[in-house]
C-alpha cells in the first residue's frame, strides 16, 4: 500500500524515482485525482533545483498522459502555471448566439468586461461577429478580450443554413457536432458555457454552466452534470433546472441591467411602452399586446384619450413576425400605435424616460414553461427609469415586480385593463409606484452584477491556486 504522503515525500527528496512510483500506482489502477498530481508536481518544483526538476517533469507528464489521457496532463500543467504565477488565468466564454443581440449574450459579455483585467478572456462563438459590434450593442468596453470564431461543420454544411445554431437539429443517433467546442474548452483554466448548450462537454479545470432556462430535455448528449457549477439567472430558472434536469444549481446571479435614469421624476408623457426583441417565434407576444391595446381603446375610449402604445425592440433583417405586427398596425391607422425597430441604446433610454406605463406579456396564456419570461431584463430597464410595470404574473417577472408596490402583476386581460385604468385615472398613484419601481430597478443594475461576478470568480481562482490540503490524506 502506498500512502499519498510517500508520493509527496518522494517529490521532495528523490524526484528521479517519482515517475516510477506514479507508474506503479497507475498499473495498480489507483485513482489519483488530477489535483493531487498537481500538488506532487508543485512540491517537486518548489523543493528541488531546476536541473533536478527538468528531466523528470517531462517523464512525469508522459506517464500521466498515457494513463489519464492527454487532456489531464495538459490540465495539470495549465493549473501549475497559474499556481506558480507564470501567467494570468484564462477564461473561455462560449456563446453560439453571440452574433445575435440578446439578454443572455449581454450577460456573457458583461462577465468578459468585468473580468478582463484579472483574466485572459476569449469569447468563443460559431458565426461571424466582431468585438466592435459587441461593444456597441451592449455599451461595454471589451478591448482586452479576444474573439475566436469556430465554425461547426455540421451547421455550416446544411443546405438551408439557419441564422441561429439550433441544437434541436442535432441527430442524436450520430456524432455530437458540438465536440469541436468541447475540445476547445480544454484550452482554458475556466470554461464558461453561456448559451446553456448542454451538448458541450467541459474539459477545462473549472467549468461553469450559465443557465438562462433549461430549454431541452435530457438527451444522449447531456453533460450539464459534468460542469463544476451551474449559475442561474432567476429563481424561476432554478426551479425548472431541478424539475427538468434533476440537478441542483449552485449560484444565483441576476442579469445586469444598465438603463438607469438619473431621476424618476423626469417629465413623462402618456405612453404605454413595451420593449423586447421581435422574436421570429413570437415569444414576446407583441401581437397580443397590440390586440389588447385595441380592445382597451374600445372599452375605455375616454380614458385612453392622449395615450399611445409604443413597441420597441431589435429585429433581424427578414422577420415574418415583424411583418405581421406591421400589418396589424396598418389595419387601424387611426390608433396611436408606434413601432420602433432596432433603435439605438440612447434612443431606447429616451423612450423609457418618457413612458409612464410598461406592459409585458411574455408567458400570458402559454403552457410551455420555456415561453414564460425567464427573467425579464426590459422590465427592470423600464423600472430603472421610473416606468410603472404591469406584467404577466409568472416566471422571473414575479421576482422583479412586487405586486402593488413597485408595479402590478396581472393574470387576465381584465386585470391588466383594471390596473392600467387605475394608473391612468390616479396620477398620484402613478408617481408613487413609479418612485418605488425606480428604487427597485436599482437592485438589478450592472454594478451589482459586476461586483458579484468578480467576487465569485476571485473565490474560484483562490481555490484553483491553492490545492486543498485534504487531498494529501488519502491512501493509495
Amino acid at each position: 500500500m502506498i500512502e499519498s504522503k510517500q508520493l509527496l515525500e518522494m517529490a521532495e527528496k528523490s524526484p528521479n524515482d517519482l515517475s516510477k512510483l506514479l507508474k506503479s500506482c497507475f498499473i495498480e489502477n489507483k485513482n489519483i485525482p488530477d489535483s493531487f498530481i498537481g500538488l506532487i508536481l508543485l512540491k517537486l518544483i518548489q523543493k528541488n533545483p531546476s536541473y533536478a526538476v527538468l528531466p523528470c517533469l517531462s517523464e512525469l507528464i508522459e506517464t500521466i498522459s498515457l494513463d489519464k489521457g492527454i487532456q489531464s496532463a495538459y490540465n495539470i500543467l495549465t493549473r501549475l502555471e497559474v499556481m506558480l504565477d507564470f501567467r494570468k488565468p484564462s477564461i473561455g466564454i462560449y456563446d453560439c448566439a453571440l452574433h445575435f443581440i440578446g439578454g443572455a449574450q449581454k450577460y456573457g459579455c458583461t462577465i468578459a468586461h468585468a473580468l478582463q483585467n484579472e483574466f485572459d478572456i476569449t469569447l468563443i462563438t460559431n458565426r461571424n461577429i466582431t468585438l466592435d459590434e459587441l461593444q456597441r450593442w451592449y455599451n461595454l468596453e471589451l478591448s482586452r478580450c479576444r474573439l475566436k470564431i469556430i465554425k461547426i461543420p455540421f451547421f455550416e454544411e446544411k443546405k438551408q443554413k439557419k441564422i441561429m445554431i439550433d441544437p434541436a437539429d442535432v441527430d442524436l443517433k450520430k456524432d455530437n457536432p458540438f465536440h469541436i467546442i468541447s475540445k476547445e474548452s480544454g484550452n482554458y483554466d475556466i470554461f464558461v458555457n453561456n448559451c446553456m448548450l448542454e451538448m458541450v462537454y467541459p474539459l477545462a479545470n473549472i467549468s461553469l454552466f450559465i443557465c438562462h432556462f433549461p430549454e431541452r430535455e435530457i438527451s444522449r448528449f447531456f453533460y450539464v452534470s459534468k460542469y463544476t457549477e451551474i449559475i442561474y439567472n432567476s429563481l424561476y430558472t432554478a426551479e425548472w433546472i431541478k424539475k427538468r434536469w434533476k440537478l441542483v444549481p449552485h449560484k444565483h446571479i441576476y442579469p445586469p441591467v444598465d438603463m438607469e435614469g438619473l431621476d424618476h421624476s423626469q417629465k413623462k408623457e402618456n405612453i404605454i411602452l413595451t420593449a423586447s426583441r421581435f422574436d421570429l417565434s413570437g415569444n414576446k407576444q407583441q401581437l397580443e399586446i397590440i390586440r389588447s391595446f385595441k380592445k382597451f381603446v374600445k372599452q375605455y375610449p375616454k380614458n385612453k384619450r392622449d395615450w399611445k402604445l409604443i413597441l420597441a425592440g431589435g429585429s433581424i433583417a427578414e422577420n415574418q413576425y415583424l411583418e405581421k405586427i406591421k400589418k396589424l398596425i396598418s389595419l387601424s391607422p387611426g390608433e396611436d400605435i408606434e413601432l420602433k425597430v432596432n433603435v439605438s441604446a440612447d434612443e431606447l433610454k429616451t423612450i423609457y424616460k418618457k413612458a409612464k406605463i410598461f406592459w409585458h406579456f411574455t408567458g400570458f396564456n402559454q403552457y410551455d414553461p420555456a415561453r414564460v419570461e425567464h427573467f425579464g431584463m426590459t422590465i427592470a430597464e423600464a423600472m430603472q427609469n421610473g416606468c410603472v410595470p404591469i406584467v404577466f404574473n409568472g416566471g422571473g417577472q414575479t421576482e422583479i415586480v412586487e405586486d402593488g408596490v413597485s408595479g402590478f402583476l396581472f393574470s387576465s386581460e381584465k386585470e391588466l385593463f383594471d390596473k392600467t385604468i387605475e394608473l391612468i385615472k390616479n396620477q398620484d398613484l402613478l408617481v408613487k409606484i413609479g418612485k418605488k419601481a425606480f428604487q427597485r430597478g436599482k437592485q438589478f443594475n450592472k454594478d451589482i452584477f459586476i461586483a458579484e461576478i468578480k467576487t465569485h470568480f476571485n473565490q474560484l481562482l483562490k481555490e484553483y491556486r491553492s490545492i486543498k490540503k485534504n487531498n494529501s490524506i488519502f491512501i493509495l
Binding site: 518544483i45 533545483p49 531546476s50 526538476v53 527538468l54 517533469l57 517531462s58 507528464i61 498522459s65 494513463d67 489519464k68 489521457g69 492527454i70 487532456q71 489531464s72 496532463a73 495538459y74 500543467l77 495549465t78 501549475l80 502555471e81 506558480l84 507564470f86 442524436l172 443517433k173 455530437n176 465536440h179 468541447s182 475540445k183 480544454g186 484550452n187 462537454y201 474539459l203 438527451s219 444522449r220 448528449f221 453533460y223 401581437l287 390586440r291 385595441k294 374600445k298 405581421k324 400589418k327 396589424l328 389595419l331 387601424s332
Partner: protein, 182 residues
C-alpha cells in the same frame, strides 16, 4: 529567478507538445480516456427514425412496400416452428456419434416440445399478418397526419389575420353607424 524561467519554459514546451498531440486527436474519448457518449436509445428517435428502425430491425429490409410480400412469405415460412431442421455435424471423426446422439435426444423430447411449439406456431401465424397490418396502417395514419398537419398550419396562419381584419371591420362599421345617427 533563473530557475523559475527555466521551469516556465519547460512547462510551456510540454504544453505545446501536448497541444500538437491534441490537435491530431478527433474523439474526446481518446483525449480523456473514458467514455463520454452512450449509444442512442429508441426513445430518442423521432417518428421517421422509429419507423425506419422498425423496418430495419423487424423486417430486415429498407422501407419498400413492394418487397413486403417477399418479406411476408419469409416470415410465414419461419413462423412454423414444428418444421424440423436437419441434424448435421461438421466434425469428420466423431460426427456420426454426435448426429446419432442428437437424433435420439430429439426422438425422446419431441412429444413434449411439440406440445409447446404447436401453440407457438399458431401464435406466430396469427401474429405475423397482424404485425404487418399494423405496420401498413401506421404508415397510412402517418400519411394522413402529415396532410392534416399541413392543412391545420395553413388554417391557423389565416385565422389570426382574418380575426384582425374582422375586428377592424367591426370598428369601422360601428364608427359609420355612429356617424349616420348623428
Amino acid at each position: 529567478m533563473e530557475s523559475n524561467k527555466e521551469i516556465r519554459q519547460e512547462i510551456q514546451r510540454l504544453k505545446e507538445k501536448l497541444s500538437e498531440r491534441k490537435k491530431d486527436i478527433e474523439k474526446i474519448e481518446t483525449l480523456i480516456q473514458r467514455k463520454v457518449d452512450r449509444e442512442p436509445g429508441l426513445w430518442e428517435f423521432n417518428f421517421n427514425e422509429l419507423e425506419e428502425e422498425m423496418w430495419n430491425r423487424f423486417l430486415s429490409m429498407e422501407k419498400n412496400e413492394e418487397e413486403m410480400w417477399n418479406c411476408f412469405l419469409s416470415l410465414e415460412k419461419n413462423s412454423d416452428c414444428l418444421n424440423m431442421e436437419e441434424i448435421k455435424s461438421s466434425r469428420k471423426m466423431m460426427g456420426w456419434i454426435i448426429v446419432l446422439f442428437k437424433k435420439i435426444l430429439r426422438k425422446i423430447t419431441t412429444p413434449y416440445s411439440r406440445m409447446i411449439l404447436a401453440r407457438q406456431s399458431r401464435f406466430n401465424r396469427e401474429l405475423i399478418p397482424f404485425f404487418l397490418a399494423s405496420v401498413l396502417s401506421l404508415q397510412k395514419i402517418k400519411d394522413r397526419l402529415n396532410v392534416l398537419e399541413a392543412r391545420t398550419k395553413k388554417v391557423i396562419e389565416n385565422q389570426e389575420d382574418l380575426f384582425d381584419e374582422l375586428n377592424t371591420l367591426k370598428l369601422k362599421i360601428n364608427k359609420q353607424k355612429k356617424e349616420q345617427k348623428k
